[in-house]
Amino acid sequence: MLLKLEGVTKRFGGLVAVNSVDLEVEEGEKLGVVGPNGSGKTTLYNLISGVYMPDEGRIFFEGKEITNLPPYDRTKLGIARTFQIPRPFGSATVRENVAIGAMFGMANAGVDEALEMADDMLKLVGIYDLKDKEAKLLTPLEKKLMELARALAMKPKLLLLDELLAGMNPANINEILELLDRVKKEENIAVIAMVEHLMHAITKFAERVVVMHQGMKLIEGPTMEVLNDPKVIEVYLGEKLNVG
């Protein structure tokens, strides 16, 4: 068991953003988290990465309790994430951005080593040509790829992708999915990908899916089974999904 959430709850005033969620993620697993806007997906991510501390419940990583661990310590244990709206270190170059991931993530690399790792990661995601550009000058898509490179440079055991694929065209999506597949095989990283609408992508990517609804876990199970479940279709998709 890599990650385990037990009855995790987060409230913002009267609003229960995440309500008593249990979740288990195995090493090297590919899990999809889907749910409509406001269903608590991002809050869940913030709880796992340590941006928020839960009001109730406990979180374990590799059997060790991390419920009250600050985010930078969780990173060192092997949790990395991307942001829904990319958050590059704007005035630093793309290469420096990725190197910062390598330096302070689980990889814990020295400066020179980190810069070399950054080059490798940028080649991997295909934006090596942009390495000397200031990160704030990238297009939204390039920023997302840079965030992916930065997260991968941290050498995590668990990678949280927050709407990474949103706004990409189908060709890009396929490339990224292939890339994730390759990385996953090589390094055995567990990946949790969160999407709002890209159901086709999630069917290609995830072995298992968790559906969030109003802060609660509505259902979880094998991808196709879950996405065709009448409950899911009712609250979320609205109509039966035809994949093919």
Partner: protein, 327 residues
Amino acid sequence: MKSYSPLITLLLAYLIMIAIGQSIPGMWQPVMLVIFYIAIGQALNVFLGMTGYVNFGYVALLGVGAYGMGVALGYYNELGLIPTLILGFILAAILALLVSAIVGGIALRLRGAYFAIATIGVNEGIKYLIMGAKIWGGSEGIVLSGILRKSFGAETMRFLSTTFADAGVIVVAIATGVVTAYILNSRLGYALIALREDEEAAKVMGINVTKYKQIAFMISCVLAGLIGATAWTLKLTYVFPQDVFAINYTVEAIVIVMLGGAGTLLGPLVGGLIYALLKYYLAIAFPGLQLLILAPLLIVVILLFPEGVVGYIAKKARGTRLENFVR
């Protein structure tokens, strides 16, 4: 892109300044003024430039550094000349370290502007503590010229307050540059860039932002303390609380950092040159009106180069052969 080669530019600039000061009569005083301003800019830059946090209590660190040296020379001079001086530098560093550990430990838990507000009181607080509690001579300060003449002789005193003090300022100024270059090339430097740009994201990227802010703050403050010990106590041979806790130095240091380019190695050099020379020569050319003329000039420069002069040049130099020497 990052390396130590911009340091060559910095050291060359110091060499040229010293050469000008030594060879042209009447130039030593303005050169030392420029170097002093570069040094206080450089030391502040380690914190302000790299973290984006404004320390309005900055001059208090120069002040306690000045007191560290003043206390050693004034109260412990029976140790002999060299041990007293060493003690003075150690006291200056320790006092600055203590103040920065306490102030940073509390105020750095605040974000951005709130930190700046919290530090405003530090300078006045320490000043009135020394004056009110009559610590180290209270508001009368420590007057060293008589003590030094009695203990070490007039000749030594003159040497201390001229050649030795100037050399001390130059050494500390160069040291702040070397420290800055080292930080820019280290993990610390990258952590500071990250937290300056986006503190929340930096945390999630594994950076203990409070720790790195505190380290940068303490380095900046100790360097400031050493500048106070050399440029004020040794050079002026007195320490008056009203003089060493004068807030205008904080403001001038901030202007120098912003003018030259926050977070760059050469920024304080360029900012200090522009600021000190303008201030010095405007005061000669238009006595009494210098600030009236200086202020709009500074506004023009800041408008032309919002990222500072060096920030602007470094961007232009990217991809050219100059790139490695401007940062």
